[in-house]
Structures are given as C-alpha cells and as structure tokens.
C-alpha cells in the first residue's frame, strides 16, 4: 500500500498546473472575477477529487480480483476509462495535463491548416486519451519533454482524424445536421457502420432511392421503394414471400417501438451498484468469503465512479466553452464533433437494440477469451451502454435493423478483445498507482491479478500499437511514428 503522503506529493504539480491553466482559460473567456475564482478552484478540486475516487475503485477491484482468483483461478480485467484515467493520475498526472493542453492546441492547428476542420468538444474523452498516452509513453521509456511532444501530436491528430474518418456514416445518422462524432469509441462505431452495410447491402441504396438519406424516414420511404427493388428477387420466389423479405431487409430499428432504457441511466450509481453486486456476490460465494463484505466492496466501486464523474464534471466544465471560443476565432467554419450520447435522439430504438446486442457480443467474447487465456474481461454495464448504443445507431444507419444487430455484436466482441490486448502493454492498474515510478507496469499481468484497463476501441487500439512498437523497437520508434503520422495528415489534408 502506497502512503497517502506520496500520493499527495505526486499530485502537487499537476494540481497547481490545472489551476494555472484554468486561470489563463477563464481570462481568455473574459469571465468576471468571481467566475475566474470559482472556475480555478473548481478545476483544482475536480482534479484532486479523481484520486480518492480511483483509490476506492481500486480497493474494490483488488478484492474482486482476489475472490475471482481464489474461486476460479482466473484473472479478471474491468475495462473502465473513467476509473483508469483517474487511477494513473498520481503517477503520470503532469504528463496527462500537459498532453491534454498541447494536444487540444495541436488539434486546433490541424483544423486551421488542413481540411480536417473539426472541433472535438468531448473534453472527458480528450482527458482519457491524454491519460492513456501519458501512461503508455511513460512506460515506453521516453523522456518527459518527448512524452509531452509525442503525446500532444498524437492526441491532436486523432482528435481531428477520428471525426473525419466516419463523417460519411455520421451524416447518414444525422441526416443533414452539421455535426460530427467526437468520441473515442469511434473505430467501433465505424466498424458497426461497415458491418451494417455488408450484412444488408440493399439498405443504403434503397433507402436513398426513396428520396432521403435519413434513416428516420425509412419506414414510409423504405417500404414503398421495396416494390421496385423486389424485381430481382422475385424471379425465384413467390410475390408475397419476396415482398416480405424485401420489407424485412428495409426495416429500420426505428420501425419498432421499444421501451426506452433510460431507467438504466436514471441513476448511474444504482445501475453500477446492482451489476457489480451481482458479480461480487458470485465471486464471494464461490470463494467462500463473507457476502456482506462483498456487497460493500461492490458498492465501493460505484461510489468511486460517482466521485470520479463528479470530479470530471468540475475539472472539465470550462474546456468545451473555451474550445468553442478559440475555434470561433481561428477556425470559424469548423464542424463541432460531439459526444456520442448527443446522437441518441436520432434513433432511440437503435440505442436499446445496440446496447443489448453489444453486451451479448461482449459476454460471448468474455467467455471465449477467458477459456482460451484465463483472463476474463468483465464488461462494465454503464460504459458499455454508451458504446453499444452508438454502435447500434451506426449499424442501423447503414444496414437497418439487421445492420444494427450485426454491427453492435461486432462492436461488443471488439470491446472485449481489445482490452485483453491492451493489458499486455499497460499492465495492471494496480502497479500503476505507485506514485512516481512505473516499475512493474509491464508484465504485471502475470505477477498479479489485473484489475482495470482502458476500455473503448480507440484507446485500446492506439495503446496496443504504441505499446507493441515501444517494446519491439524502443521508444524512439514511437516518436518517429507520431511525427510520420502528423506529416502524413498534413500532406493528406493540405488545402489546395
């Protein structure tokens, strides 16, 4: 157990830096004196708040890992961005904050000088990405100034590329609205969009042919146009069979009325507590440990997450307004890239179908990978809700109901497989909290039951690539990759 003193000491620099940066930002926003004061203190309080939350989450997960290994002899891993980003602050806090700030500035520069004119407004995602980059780059052995330089370059590039890569899909989701996706589960969503189009090739063609690209219009437009699209299939099938098959292919998720799952989110803390209690009780029963303690430890997890979320809210409250103000001045025509939940109103049924299918995919993946490797990836319900729902929306936009189901299943499998890969390179969250040192960051999976890791697709893919590069070719290869990618983006996106 690391002493609290060591943690406090490690937090001093990043906390003061947060306060200073908040001060600069609020001055730029021309807030009144009282607003600047409350904003500065709020950001600092929010930052420090992450750490007690993370410590409580860690105690809880250690207990779970212990019970699981006693009971079943398996290691468990809980992908959870909020928990992981908070957990690493005592060891890589300074690098996280510096990467965040310089990364967002790099992102603005890219928006200004290339045709990737997006404004990534989802600040908590940027913060998680900065924490991941700080963690992997520190573990790779790069020196501090290079960590910030490479990290900022990568954060800036990916904040611009991620919305750009899937803009064609996003446009199908939103119809004609001028927004992009700003969320680092993006590769999972685009995979869902691609899978959706593959499993239902006629969907895009025929819903488009009926006049409007928006999936919301699919019910009326889609069905009427099935009369023309039917001609090919009709040769082998009877008329009515062909019609019902064509109709089912053209069905959007939004043709179905599904009760909303919002009760799941009514109280994030209660949902997290319930799902965690279930897991902890199973583990405790099998390990013959006292049930009452298991319940309290399960609640610890939910409490820690609630504290971390409250901290993030305070820490990042003024970042999107600041980005909007800076964007308005330097890149006035930039497209705002927004949180995935902002897309939920476009396809509320796809939200529910996507979540359920994605979770099913994750559970299948959990059992498959668990049996193969002995490492069990436990999906956390609430984070999975956001990613699964969004995958459903993208799958539906390109492949209707079939697309939503297949796309979300693929996303769920990916969300289980990727963290298993990433854990090879970030090691356990446990080893990471030892303030200041990164010893044991690598290979900790074998030494000790692993507790937490980053979850969503982009974190896992970037982290795995960088980790693999670093361990194979050394830290300088990571720096070269970052510079190469940045040059590539500039060449590719140059305005003519």
């Amino acid at each position: 157990m690391i002493s609290l003193d060591a943690i406090v000491l490690a937090l001093a620099q990043p906390t003061l830096l947060v306060g200073f940066l908040a001060f600069l930002g609020l001055l730029f926003l021309r807030r009144p004196v009282a607003g600047v004061l409350s904003g500065v203190v709020g950001a600092m309080v929010g930052y420090v708040m992450l750490v007690p939350g993370a410590l409580v989450v860690q105690e809880s997960l250690l207990r779970l890992a212990d019970a699981m290994s006693r009971a079943f002899g398996i290691a468990v891993l809980v992908p959870h961005n909020e928990a992981m980003a908070a957990l690493v602050q005592p060891s890589v806090g300074l690098a996280t904050i510096l990467i965040l700030v310089f990364g967002l500035l790099t992102h603005l520069v890219i928006a200004r000088v290339t045709r990737f004119r997006f404004l990534f407004l989802t600040a908590h995602q940027s913060f998680f990405m900065a924490a991941l980059l700080a963690l992997v780059l520190t573990a790779s052995g790069l020196a501090m100034p290079l960590i910030v330089f490479v990290g900022a370059l990568l954060l800036g590039v990916w904040s611009s590329l991620s919305p750009a890569l899937g803009q064609a899909f996003t446009r199908r989701v939103t119809g004609d609205e001028a927004v992009a996706l700003g969320h680092f589960g993006s590769l999972g969503y685009y995979l869902a969009g691609w899978v959706g189009a593959r499993v239902n090739r006629r969907y895009v063609r025929e819903t488009d042919a009926s006049g409007d690209g928006g999936t919301e219009e699919a019910p009326s437009g889609g069905f009427s146009s099935s009369a023309s699209g039917r001609a090919v299939a009709a040769s082998a099938l009877s008329d009515s069979q062909a019609r019902s098959r064509a109709a089912s292919r053209l069905r959007s998720t939004e043709d179905i009325r599904i009760p909303s799952l919002s009760s799941l989110l009514r109280n994030v803390t209660v949902t997290t507590s319930l799902s965690m209690t279930l897991v902890f009780v199973v583990a405790a029963l099998a390990a013959e440990q006292p049930l009452s303690a298991a319940v309290v430890y399960a609640l610890f997890f939910a409490v820690g997450i609630a504290v971390i979320l409250a901290g993030l809210r305070l820490l990042l409250a003024d970042v999107p307004p600041l980005l909007t103000a800076l964007g308005g001045r330097f890149v006035p025509d930039a497209l705002p890239a927004v949180d995935c939940a902002a897309l939920f109103p476009y396809a509320p049924s796809a939200v529910v179908i996507g979540f359920l299918c994605s979770l099913s995919g994750a559970l299948v993946g959990m059992v498959g990978i668990g049996l193969l490797t002995g490492l069990w990836i436990l999906p956390s319900v609430v984070p999975h809700f956001f990613c699964g729902a969004t995958a459903g929306i993208y799958g539906n936009a390109t492949g209707g109901l079939r697309g939503a189901i297949a796309g979300a299943l693929a996303n769920g499998l990916l969300l289980t497989a990727l963290p298993a890969l990433l854990s090879l390179f970030t090691g356990s969250g446990v080893a990471m909290t030892s303030a200041g040192t990164m010893s044991g960051a690598f290979g900790a999976t074998t030494a000790m039951a692993v507790a937490a890791t980053f979850g969503d697709t982009d974190y896992a893919i970037l982290g795995t690539i960088l980790g693999a590069l670093g361990t194979t070719f050394g830290p300088i290869s990571i720096a070269m990759l970052a510079i190469g990618v940045a040059c590539g983006v500039w060449m590719w996106g140059r305005k003519r």
Partner: protein, 95 residues
C-alpha cells in the same frame, strides 16, 4: 435565472446543451446561469428555475419541476424553437 441541463452522466451531451442554452439566452438578452448535471443529481436538485433536457430524462424528473423538453442536444434551430418560448415566459414572469 438558474438553469440545469441534464443527461445521463452530466459530462457529455448536457455540456453541449448548456452551451446552446447560453448562446440562445445571450442572443435574446436573457441573463442565465447554466450548470450541467447527471439525471440522478438533477432529480434531487430543486434549486433551479428551469431544467432543460430530452424526453428520456424529462420523464425521470419530478413532475413539479419547470422543464423545457428539447429533441436535440446540438441542433441550434431546434433547441431555440423549443426553448425560447419557455425562457421568454419565465423571464417575463420574473421581471
């Protein structure tokens, strides 16, 4: 007037909505103080003049709250059409 914007976690889409609400209020000379909240905290909070959110979360808040239900977090035109009447009537009743 004091306004809460509400979404599931209180860190993503409610923050976008908060910025939209501030823009619209500023454009019409209404002075507002907007905070973004998660649905759970919002259900317990009663110290605001207005809650702005989408239907899913509006259903979860107590009935006695004054609410503006919007159909998008990001579409400025839509939010303005749905929010401005409520803002104006509130502003008028307070002055």
């Amino acid at each position: 007037m004091k306004i809460y914007t509400v979404c599931g976690n209180g860190i993503g889409s409610s923050l976008l909505l908060k910025m939209k609400v501030e823009q619209i209020a500023a454009a019409h000379g209404i002075s507002v103080e907007v905070t973004s909240l998660d649905a759970n905290s919002a259900a317990a909070a009663s110290d605001a003049d207005l809650f702005v959110t989408v239907k899913e979360f509006a259903d979860l808040l107590p009935d006695d709250r004054r609410m503006a239900v919007v159909t998008s977090y990001t579409n400025a035109k839509q939010v303005e059409a749905e929010l401005l009447p409520v803002l104006e009537s509130l502003g008028a009743s307070r002055s």
